[in-house]
Symmetry: C2
Subunit: 346 residues, 2 copies
DNA sequence: CTGAAAGCGCTTACAG
DNA sequence: CTGAAAGCGCTTACAG
């Protein structure tokens, strides 16, 4: 491999100091009052040698890497890969790049990722936190390390957060089902103590109560994250094969739950929306693709990604300028929209 | 923000030199023959101060960042986010992290991304190259910069590549349609000169010829990448609304093309597989989700990701050991499997 | 207008 | 057994 050309090579070739080259290449020739002609010659030689600055060296010197670390549950989940794409674009507009990692909803992996990214000197983190990671994040907060949570949050942690109004979203979904005449509404959620998921469950229960609907037996079921496929299969078996007490509709708390659930519904030749009304959280192209396009709760991954980067950039700026005062934490709650398609009747 | 603790802080606290600390923390105490007791004290203090090595500094010194740059067309496309996930895991096993970028099939963006990643000193690149980027890649090759192409390749470029046998895959798909009795087979592909896409088209044409089937009027249509939605809508209109000359089956060259195409098919209430047989390239959860699960060509993103990392790691190792000889380029062609579901009849 | 020097945090060949 | 020193490539306050 060709040796990379450094500032020194340019300096040597022109018989000037490295400092001069650096000033010119950073457009600080005025500050250093470099001669115009010399500036031109430096620029010309840089181009000629195809000089690419070593950003690692610059980072070591500046203490800034212009890099964001992104930690999600799983980058291959469309919800997260859509957010990742938006974050990439927004970061790029600010001259930042993104390093990513998947935690698999696992607190240990999360800690390992955080450590790795910090050792790599990322300037800040955007995290969709896994269960039981609140202590890890508290440590970041205590150290004043900039980060923004997305999608999830913790009650015992004050942190920058961008998320939807989960309670309201569930409530809206149940209201919609109720208005379309469904009365035996079941919910399939994740078994987790993460508050965003609890909120979705509470919104479901709150709406049932408002409409005077009893919670059905097995009306609120929970799947693990690790064995989602078999867990949901079992849940759907319990609910669907008990014909005399079958739900007439389902609220799924995530896209993965819905996809697994609908596979079971299809297997049993149950027809949406005639036999079952369906609403799910999270957009995914699969939903439009169903024979009866699903009504879903749109989290607006675009908005989440944009706002997360915006808030992180603010934090980084304020840190650069103002080393004493700490910025207020930003808690942004986005209003999730119910996108009505055809899975709850016309 | 708390000041980060460095090797010097540990050294100072114990009244030893930074060198000593470095040796111990890198488990090179034997080489430096450090006292056992001192080694213990150093380790203890490091833990106590929660020392995290600055990998940027190490990289500057070593000339290695242990970072892979990943360039795909769009990280939010499930085909690429699945590959990204595999690459993340494989990289992690080798103590590498991944920086990613999306080229949007645009040669300029691709060049910008390559430059950015190289300035950030990634050790190597894994690239799903966009059209017209062969010259950019040739420059990398000329400089001896390690990279591996995935999914796509170029005829005028000798480079490490991991891809499927596109011609064969298309051929197999058409054969399957033929065997199921379809005779009026149309293909929807991308308008691009990228050879992997040309191969898919050639495989289609080759199989038609083998079975003595004429190429239908408008039997091989091409969509742009930028306006896929409106382009495919137009294509499907041309093909489907010409009722007396309608195809009886479709081969879609990618998941995105299939998804857009099937939306149009659904709109017209055409039923798969009765009215139309369907096969698509690329797995995506949406396919299983269709009322009639799609028969598709599985590219095995898992395999592609793993092999790409393996080959890149080999290149990096050989580069470290052996500065003179260049390694042979690896050209891995994976046999794509036709996954038969129900979209071509039983 | 220009250069010499220090320093970011680390590693490692060298000298004792 | 241990330390001093150089150097990775860059930036910038300082001195002329």
């Amino acid at each position: 491999m060709e040796k990379k050309v450094s500032i020194k090579d340019i300096a040597k070739k022109l018989g000037v100091s490295a400092a001069l080259v650096s000033y010119v290449l950073n457009n600080k020739e005025k500050e250093a009052r470099v001669g115009l002609e010399m500036a031109e010659r430096i620029r010309h030689t840089a181009r000629e040698l195809n000089y690419q600055p070593n950003l690692i060296a610059r980072s070591l010197r500046s203490g800034r890497t212009k890099t964001i670390g992104l930690i999600v549950a799983d980058i291959s989940n469309p919800f997260f890969s859509n957010i990742a794409r938006t974050i990439e674009d927004e970061a790029s507009l600010n001259n930042y790049t993104v390093i990513f990692g998947s935690s698999d909803e696992n607190a240990e992996k999360s800690q390992t990722l955080i450590n790795t990214l910090i050792k790599r000197q990322v300037d800040g983190l955007i995290i969709a936190p896994a269960e039981n990671t609140s202590p890890q994040l508290q440590v970041l907060s205590d150290r004043g390390f900039p980060y923004v949570l997305i999608d999830r949050y913790f009650n015992d942690l004050t942190a920058n957060t961008v998320r939807i109004n989960n309670y309201q979203a569930s409530f809206k979904a149940v209201t919609h089902l109720y208005e379309r005449g469904y009365r035996r509404i079941a919910m399939v959620a994740y078994k987790t103590k993460l508050p965003h998921m609890e909120d979705r469950k509470r919104g479901f229960l709150g709406a049932l109560q408002k409409f005077g609907l009893p919670v059905m037996e097995n009306g609120l079921m929970e799947s693990s994250y690790e064995n989602i496929s078999s867990d949901v299969a079992g849940i759907m078996q319990t609910l669907l094969d008990n014909t005399e007490n079958r739900p007439d509709s389902f609220l799924f708390a995530t896209n993965s739950l819905a996809i697994n659930g609908l596979k079971e519904i299809n297997k049993r030749k149950l027809v949406v929306p005639k036999d079952l009304g369906i609403i799910s959280f999270d957009e995914t192209e699969a939903f439009d693709f169903f024979y009866c396009p699903l009504t879903y709760i749109n989290q607006s991954t675009d908005r989440i990604g944009k706002e997360a980067v915006r808030i992180l950039m603010q934090q980084l700026e304020s840190k650069d300028k103002n080393k004493t005062e700490k910025m207020d934490t930003a808690q942004l709650v986005i209003d999730a929209q119910l996108v009505v398609q055809r899975s709850c009747g016309e």
